[in-house]
């Protein structure tokens, strides 16, 4: 089993995710013309049986959620899961002035922007170009436990990077989780080691 070898690797990965997250926050701020509060990223490497528990601990959403999933690939591949607290989605809809856009369409667009900027921004730091699948709604207005049962994430181990975005003065909150299979984690860690070796 692959592991996060040391604190430096975790720290470097966290910093690289942080930069990707900053780009995602900027994209979201421009989309809604508002200020976005960013969390400090959290990185966990978990085994399959612990994934659900780890996500529940990271996301901390007691009420119903809406989740959007999007896959990405190139030399590394993985999946992103954007989890929104259902109550906040209505608050988000208020920010948008297009009456013909459904809340699902809006969430798909928001997810696309966040995943593209965050994961794309992370990959760009390793000079990797990613292609993204179209985002799809994984579940709507369900508890996080129901949702994770359905998700059936296929990875042997998951490197979970969690960041969250909050729109100032609104209840809107999004948790963005990314999952990477073993061979992609290995590619990421090699890139991280190469970076650390220059310091």
């Amino acid at each position: 089993m692959i592991g996060l070898g040391n604190d430096d690797q975790r720290d470097a990965l966290s910093e690289l995710v942080n930069i990707g997250m900053g780009q995602a926050g900027d994209s979201l701020a421009r989309l809604f013309d508002t200020f976005i509060t960013l969390s400090i990223p959290r990185i966990e490497l978990v085994q399959p049986r612990d994934v659900t528990r780890a996500i529940r601990a990271l996301v901390d959403a007691p009420g119903p959620v809406v989740a959007v999933r999007q896959a990405f690939s190139s030399r590394i591949r993985g999946e992103a899961l954007a989890i929104y607290e259902a109550g906040g989605c209505d608050a988000l809809a208020d920010l948008v002035t297009y009456p013909d856009v459904t809340s699902d369409e809006l969430l798909l667009e928001v997810s696309n922007v966040l995943v593209g900027a965050c994961v794309g921004g992370l990959a760009a730091q390793f000079s990797l170009d990613l292609s993204f699948s179209p985002p799809s709604i994984l579940g709507s207005h369900r508890s996080i436990d129901d949702l994770l049962d359905v998700a059936g994430l296929p990875w042997e181990n998951a490197l979970i990077a969690e960041v969250n975005f909050r729109v100032v003065d609104r209840a809107f909150r999004c948790h963005l989780l990314t999952f990477w299979p073993d061979e992609s984690i290995a590619v990421l860690l090699r890139a991280v080691d190469a970076l650390l070796a220059t310091l």
Binding site: N18, M21, G22, G25, I40
Partner: protein, 122 residues
Amino acid sequence: MTMSVLVVDDSPVSRKMVIRSLPPGWDISITQASNGSEALAALGVKHHALVLLDLNMPVMDGYQFLEAIASSELVRPIVIVLSGDIQPQAQARVKALGASAFVKKPVGAQTILAALHECGVL
């Protein structure tokens, strides 16, 4: 004369990346802090002419640090913000709070150099 520089970031890797990006041969002494609160303590011990400040940190973030400096009796250092959060509002907010320059992460030698010139420390 040797200039005292305080590098404030919760990530040790990020601090190393910042320090590596500073101009080679520049006559400085570097102190490191991992959040705003540690940075304030360091400034209480000794004046630093320049602070290189991350924004998104636990305990006391960069905004709170800038506010604390503004309301303190401390001699004001020149502050350059180095941030992954690149929202225009973040940039405007730190400038309003007294920061002299804003550099987007990942930092590079060229962007740091430009900011140092912009603030007149080089």
